[in-house]
Symmetry: C2
Subunit: 285 residues, 2 copies
């Protein structure tokens, strides 16, 4: 099994507790919450343009001053995604080894790491996490995590997308690694941004090519769950909670859609409170 992806440390930004808590059988008010549509409106473009900058600065400052509550070191690797930030402290230039300074380059508006030796500006970009939502005989395949963070909690098979592969290929690969399951991707299902931690989740609907699966090295268990039995109180990540909830909503109306949304988490609560978020700018196709 590949251990191909970094854990860069989960932050302790935490999330805000919301009144709607998912039980095994989601309630109607929760459904409304998930399916609100708020199209993006750039009513204040100046604010929008500076938002990424201030977010990145806040995240960077926070990460550098915080210990990692999950204990994952920066050199750890796993193919299982964590809802952590991809933002690292950049002290040196990867090309020439020169020391970096952190300032706003000429002609830009955002703080960047700049090499004091070769002048290179070092940019950082969000990371994509790719995974599969597999329905088999009206049940969904979930994996129980055997690694930190979220040890012992359930997730869809997913992991960081690698250079050289497509999102669909990455989702198939991760499913093989985490659940020893060979799948065929059927359609794109969800694109969920989590700006605060610099991650984008890309989830595909998929089907088992053979009805065989078993825990991979990072899973202690793999099980098929009926929609009414999904362990919403024991899921590993907000992104998986949102994905499963959207899927359940779609089954009620007859067919899966494609969903775009932004998962906004807020400071003040523990990262383990995966229900503490808002799903904003939810759009469907």
């Amino acid at each position: 099994m590949l251990k191909a992806i970094q854990i860069l440390g989960s932050s302790s930004f935490g999330f805000v507790s919301l009144p709607c808590r998912f039980k095994r059988k989601p309630q109607a008010n929760c459904d409304l919450y998930f399916l609100s549509r708020k199209p993006i409106k750039a009513s204040n473009l100046s604010s929008l343009r500076s938002k990424a900058s201030s977010f990145a600065f806040r995240i960077r400052s926070h990460i550098h001053s915080d210990s990692n509550p999950y204990g994952a070191s920066s050199s750890s690797s796993t193919s299982t995604p964590v809802q952590s930030t991809g933002i690292r402290k950049i002290n040196f230039c990867q090309s020439c080894g020169g020391r970096t300074k952190h300032e706003i380059p000429d002609g830009e508006e955002k703080m960047r790491a700049i090499c004091t030796s070769c002048g290179k500006i070092i940019y950082e970009n969000p990371k994509m996490v790719v995974g599969c939502l597999i329905e088999h005989e009206n049940k969904i395949l979930l994996c129980k995590r055997k690694i930190h963070p979220s040890f012992g909690l359930w997730t869809l098979p997913a992991g960081y997308m690698e250079i050289g592969e497509s999102a669909a290929e990455g989702a198939i690969r991760e499913t093989w690694e985490e659940a020893n399951a060979e799948v065929e991707v059927l359609s794109p299902f969800a694109h969920l941004d989590i700006p605060l931690i610099g991650q984008t989740y890309i989830i595909f609907l998929a089907k088992l090519k053979r009805p065989h699966f078993s825990p991979g090295p990072e899973s202690s268990d793999c099980q098929l769950f009926a929609l009414n039995d999904i362990p919403f109180d024991s899921l590993a990540f907000s992104s998986m909670l949102v994905t499963l909830q959207l899927y359940i909503e779609d089954t009620k109306v007859g067919r899966p859609m494609f969903h775009y949304g932004i998962i906004n988490k807020r400071p003040g609560t523990s990262p383990s409170e995966i229900h503490a978020y808002t799903l904003d700018h939810h759009l469907k196709s």
Copy 2:
């Protein structure tokens, strides 16, 4: 205007010329080519698992030995995407400044840069390019590039997604920067992976909030084009060609869908031959 995004140098992998060349009015055989559906099938998972590794290795070797045909230095920055690779030569650790070695870490299957000082494994991930397809009075807004690469060619407003923003926010920001246009995102339209260069294009349908636009600092012109007048022979990137073609196809059947696809480019031709690709694993929602 922000100049927020890196050009890491366009490679000269080149692409294979295909018999289907787009003219101003796409031909029927081109349409068929674009709309073929090939669901992902992992008939050989072993091959799939090693694909990303071999691709990354091939790209890395190539990039390091090639000059940049567009002349963009590694320290250049622009908010306009280029179809270049995000894969860089990693000689030093960004955290401690130690020299790196390149080998397959224990428990992994892929070549990685590993710090010889602190032991950190340095991972690289694909980058997201986000942009808007804006229809206004049955015409599409395009920007003429005033910068290299693809100087003088037309593109949808788009650029690299930044840490701290969502894909939709990034697409709105880039449209403001490149076309001085305030837009509202309406729906997700396309997710196009280009594995060979480590990029994923995320394109939204959007509308002008006001009928005002003008060239930003990186554009020499902005124009609305009727669908029959889109300059298919003067587009900047394959991703934009595919996006516009899919949109035209959708208008023929009445409504826009959400499209997933993989743009596979092949060695042997010039990067300027944007028609030289295949669109594989095209899925719709």
